[in-house]
């Protein structure tokens, strides 16, 4: 799910009107705001996902005793 969300967020700016075509496009400051906020959002989601994954792995480790692979 995350890959699609990320790709969608990154592609959206392409739908905005471009300055050279529409004469007066999306202001750069708004574009920046959009990009950085969505970026931060992705980081946040990834962080939460990491936490969840860690908890899941921890549970797996506890239940299966030995991890399947060790370095």
């Amino acid at each position: 799910m995350l890959p699609f969300l990320g790709a969608a967020l990154v592609v959206i700016p392409l739908l905005w009107p471009r300055a050279d075509v529409a004469g007066l496009g999306m202001p750069l400051s708004s574009a920046m705001l959009y990009i950085f906020i969505s970026w931060a959002g992705m980081i946040g989601v990834s962080f939460l996902f990491g936490l969840a994954a860690r908890r899941m792995v921890a549970r797996e480790d506890a239940s299966t005793e030995a991890a399947p692979w060790r370095p």
């Binding site: 995350l2 890959p3 969300l5 990320g6 790709a7 990154v10 592609v11 700016p13 392409l14 905005w16 009107p17 471009r18 300055a19 050279d20 007066l24 496009g25 999306m26 202001p27 750069l28 400051s29 574009a31 920046m32 990009i35 950085f36 970026w39 931060a40 992705m42 980081i43 946040g44 989601v45 990834s46 962080f47 996902f49 990491g50 994954a53 860690r54 792995v57 399947p68 692979w69 370095p71």
Partner: protein, 892 residues
């Protein structure tokens, strides 16, 4: 104004600091301390060598030229980290389980350890890496020149400074990158230094950004207004480029040799990826946060025509903030240095493993190839490669003149290196991918990249303008920047579109058309299903392999001690006694993986192949390949384990059998001896008794004499039987010790008188009475028996004219030691080891018993907790009886 001198001093100081950090981290890692060196944080920070001087300076320049397009460079990796996390995890696990040393190694390893492929990837990486290194050198030089312009002394010479920068970076990379050979012993020093550098550059960029937003613009809102009012204040991004560059940077993030080095080779723990998945995008976000403000302010403040690539430096300088400029200079400097060092390390590993080593191996004779220390050759090859790569970068910089904008060189390199992507991703996720496919795909992509992007970009000298305008030989559809008439695209988009899509297409088609070799299939299965079975079926049949040859080779690569340790561990794992394991496929597989950590998969494969020889794929492997289901692979590896077990069992049985045979032979020999000893006296007894019975007219003298012989021989038989019984009781451990206390002197007195009673020959016994005043707590009769035996032996066998036996007692190392030394000719050297064996008799004199006396003595002394040994070189026959101190009590 900051003078050049201060700048140079700061630079040198910074480099010294880096050296210090790298050295300290190496030391700490070697001492086993410094767990934080292996923390996810360090890992994440080391990933940030992605941000080179190009991103540090060039991003602002790019923003000043084309607005927000620069973020794509950061968005690509962000998307990879966040959404393709599982793919990276697979990459890291494959890299670690196969002990991969570089991206070329990974590709070659996946496609049947093909060195051709490795060389292709290496060439591609070097071609893509050289301009990149040149770019870093250029950025350092440019930033130097900014300060130099301001410096009135005018001491600065551009060429020299580039040279020294390049040389210094080469030295650093050689010092810390080629210290240890095994790629699995990670370069903690370098990684730590890189982590420090990434903190420095982030800090510098943030400092400049904060200065610009709050110092110059006066806060966030005025800044935003200023942005919108600027000449780049409108969304003006080419959709094709936007997607292309995002994709390209994502691909490069995975394929760049330096990224592969820090992400896979230097990875300590897979779990670190989980942290990096959000922390690294965060780092990228912070890096790009202030890029636009700096660009906008730079465009506002600085005179038209000033280089936007250097706004990070020139904006603070124009505001008179020298120290901030200095800081940002250090930031740029560190971005450049860290990138160059890691790239040089990664490329040198590839060059030495895939180009130098195979050539070196080929120039040697087969089999006898392993002469000389391979270890040193590898290290030397790496060092020279680093120097050569730096030199290449330097000359590229000098030749290109540093003209083009920073960002475009970087993108060209990105596009080149991305050609690896189809082979890499296909190799990881598609078992049908073959070596031929990878080769064809790579060549197609590489060729297109050179033709459509690299050559046209290098200016008129190499590709004439007419070719670019009209295509080669006037064939319009082959125009480098408009292939097949696809016009109107940005050149970059055009190249990436064509090269990557044709690359992928060629890769797929060639893979489908070609048939993979068994080894390729095995490797493919291992890569694609790395999570299912990290322990893989082997590719070697060890029937002809010589463990010893392998050992010699391994020692030369890994060093003596680690190699011996590895072989010992393998031997133990197989349950084999001794130091050399059997060359089972499993062992060879592990050995190859161990070696590939040092010299790369293809080279390791070739080296083992030289020794093992012949076919590298066994019937079992073919069977395993025939049915590709994981179950069968597992089943076959179970079979393999079973067969190995059977071999071991057979070997144990053989050993047991040998031992039994030996015991049986010993028993036969013993029975033969006993038979001989019994039959010999019986022969005499029978012969003389028959003579006395059958012969008339024997004289009285003869009768007495023959009766005496019969009597003596009967006594001899009795003694023999006594001795045999005695020995059997002692050997079975059924003897009860009858402990008593007496002084040594008493025991010796009794023994001497018993042994010499009725002897025909006089034996003089010399004793030192004071030393015999030792109290004994032991079985006195048994000890006495030993003494009697020794004394009567001397009496019988001492061949001196005046036989003398010297008995002396000492305290040696906490043991009571009693020596019996006579003045005869002693026991011949070759018989000394035999004297305590049963029926071992020395000399021809058979006056004594059956040759069991000393054997009995040895058994007795063992029961008493001491020992009896023959002392050579004492002049005559010399025996030493020792008793432990525990049996001794205070002198009387």
């Amino acid at each position: 104004m900051a003078t050049m001198n201060i700048l140079i001093l700061v630079c040198l100081g910074y480099v010294v600091l880096l050296f210090g950090v790298a050295f300290a981290a190496d030391r700490m890692a070697a001492a086993g301390r410094g767990r934080w060196l292996r923390s996810p944080l360090i890992y994440t920070l080391s990933l940030s060598i992605y941000c080179t001087a190009w991103t540090f300076y060039g991003a602002v320049g790019s923003a000043a030229r084309s607005g927000l397009e620069f973020v794509t460079i950061y968005l690509g990796p962000t998307l990879v980290m966040i959404s393709w996390w599982w793919g990276l995890r697979k990459l890291v696990r494959v890299g670690r389980s196969q002990r991969v040393t570089s991206i070329a190694d990974l590709i070659s390893s996946r496609y049947g350890k093909s060195n051709t492929l490795a060389i292709c990837v290496t060439i591609l990486a070097v071609l893509g890496g050289t301009p990149y290194i040149a770019l870093q050198l250029q950025s350092i030089t440019l930033s130097f020149s900014i300060f130099a312009e301001a410096d009135p002394s005018g001491l600065y010479r551009e060429g020299a400074s580039v040279f020294w920068v390049a040389a210094g970076l080469a030295v650093f990379a050689i010092l810390f990158g080629t210290r240890n050979l095994d790629a699995n012993e990670r370069h903690h020093g370098v990684v730590t230094a890189i982590a420090l550098e990434s903190v420095v550059k982030l800090f510098a960029l943030l400092a400049v950004g904060i200065f610009v937003v709050w110092g110059i613009a006066g806060g966030v809102t005025p800044m935003m207004e200023r942005i919108d009012a600027s000449e780049i204040g409108r969304w003006n991004v080419d959709a094709g480029r936007w997607m292309t560059i995002t994709f390209l940077s994502a691909a490069a993030f995975v394929c760049l040799p330096r990224m592969f080095q820090v992400m896979v080779v230097e990875n300590d723990d897979e779990a670190h990826l989980r942290t990096a998945a959000w922390a690294f995008p965060l780092y990228l976000l912070l890096m790009s946060l202030f890029v636009v403000p700096i660009a906008v302010v730079g465009l506002d403040l600085l005179p038209a025509g000033s280089n936007p690539d250097l706004f990070v430096l020139t904006v603070p300088l124009s505001q008179g903030n020298d120290w901030l400029a200095m800081l940002s200079f250090i930031g740029g400097f560190s971005s450049a240095t860290s990138m160059v060092i890691v790239t040089a390390m990664a490329l040198s590993t590839m060059v030495s493993n895939h180009v130098v080593m195979p050539i070196w191996l080929n120039t040697r004779e087969r089999r006898s190839s392993i002469s000389g220390d391979v270890r040193n050759v590898v290290l030397m090859a790496r060092r020279i490669s680093i120097a050569a790569i730096m030199a290449l970068g330097f000359f590229y910089y000098r030749l290109s003149g540093g003209g083009a904008a920073l960002a475009s060189i970087g993108l060209v390199a990105f596009a080149g290196i991305s050609q690896i992507l189809p082979a890499l991703v296909g190799g990881l996720f598609w078992r049908g991918a073959t070596r031929t496919g990878a080769l064809v795909g790579l060549s197609v992509g590489f060729g297109l990249w050179v033709y459509t992007l690299l050559l046209p970009g290098m200016g008129g000298g190499i590709m004439s303008a007419s070719v670019i305008e009209n295509g080669p030989f006037g064939m319009g559809w082959l125009r480098p920047q408009a292939l097949f008439g696809l016009e109107g695209l940005d050149p970059m988009t055009h190249t990436v579109l064509w090269s990557l899509s044709l690359n992928a297409l060629a890769f797929c088609v060639a893979s489908l058309l070609s048939f993979p070799s068994p080894l390729e299939r095995l490797q493919g299965a291992q890569f694609v299903n790395v999570f299912d079975h990290s322990v893989a079926p082997g590719g070697w049949t060890g029937s002809v392999a010589q463990s010893e040859d392998l050992m010699i080779m391994t020692q030369r690569i890994l060093g003596a001690a680690p190699a011996q340790e590895f072989f010992q561990a393998e031997a133990e794992r197989q349950g084999v006694r001794g130091r050399l394991p059997e060359p089972t496929p499993g062992f060879l597989e592990r050995l190859e993986r161990e070696l590939s950590g040092s010299v790369g998969a293809a080279t390791a494969h070739a080296m083992i192949g030289q020794i093992v020889g012949g076919s590298s794929v066994s019937v079992e492997d073919l069977l395993a390949v025939a049915d590709e289901s994981a179950q069968l692979l597992e089943y076959s590896s179970q079979l393999e384990a079973k067969s190995a077990e059977l071999t071991r069992t057979a070997r144990k049985l053989r050993e047991a059998n040998e031992k039994l045979t030996q015991i049986s032979m010993q028993k036969d020999a013993f029975l033969g001896q006993v038979s001989h000893e019994l039959r010999t006296p019986m022969t005499s007894i029978r012969a003389f008794s028959e003579i006395m019975r059958d012969t008339d007219g024997l004289s009285a003298d003869e009768t007495r004499r023959y009766a005496t012989i019969i009597h003596d021989e009967a006594l001899r038989l009795t003694r023999l039987l006594d001795d045999l019984l005695d020995l059997s009781v002692l050997e079975n451990g059924q003897v009860n010790l009858n402990m008593g206390e007496a002084s040594l002197r008493t025991v010796l007195d009794r023994a001497v008188s018993t042994a010499l009673a009725g002897a025909e020959r006089r034996l003089k016994v010399r004793r030192s009475l004071p030393s015999e005043r030792v109290a004994l707590h032991t079985d006195l009769d048994r000890l006495g028996q030993v003494f009697i035996n020794l004394i009567s032996n001397a009496q019988k066998y001492c061949d001196a004219a005046e036989p003398t036996l010297t008995i002396s007692a000492h305290d040696v190392g906490g043991q009571l030691v009693i020596d019996f030394v006579d003045n005869g000719s002693g026991v011949p050297a070759d018989a000394q080891s035999m004297v305590f064996e049963k029926f071992a008799r020395v000399g021809f004199d058979k006056a004594g018993g059956a040759g069991l006396g000393l054997a009995i003595c040895r058994e007795i002394m063992q029961r008493l907790g001491g020992e009896i040994v023959y002392l050579p070189g004492q002049g005559g026959a010399a025996f030493r009886v020792s008793l432990p101190l525990a049996h001794r009590q205070a002198a009387q």
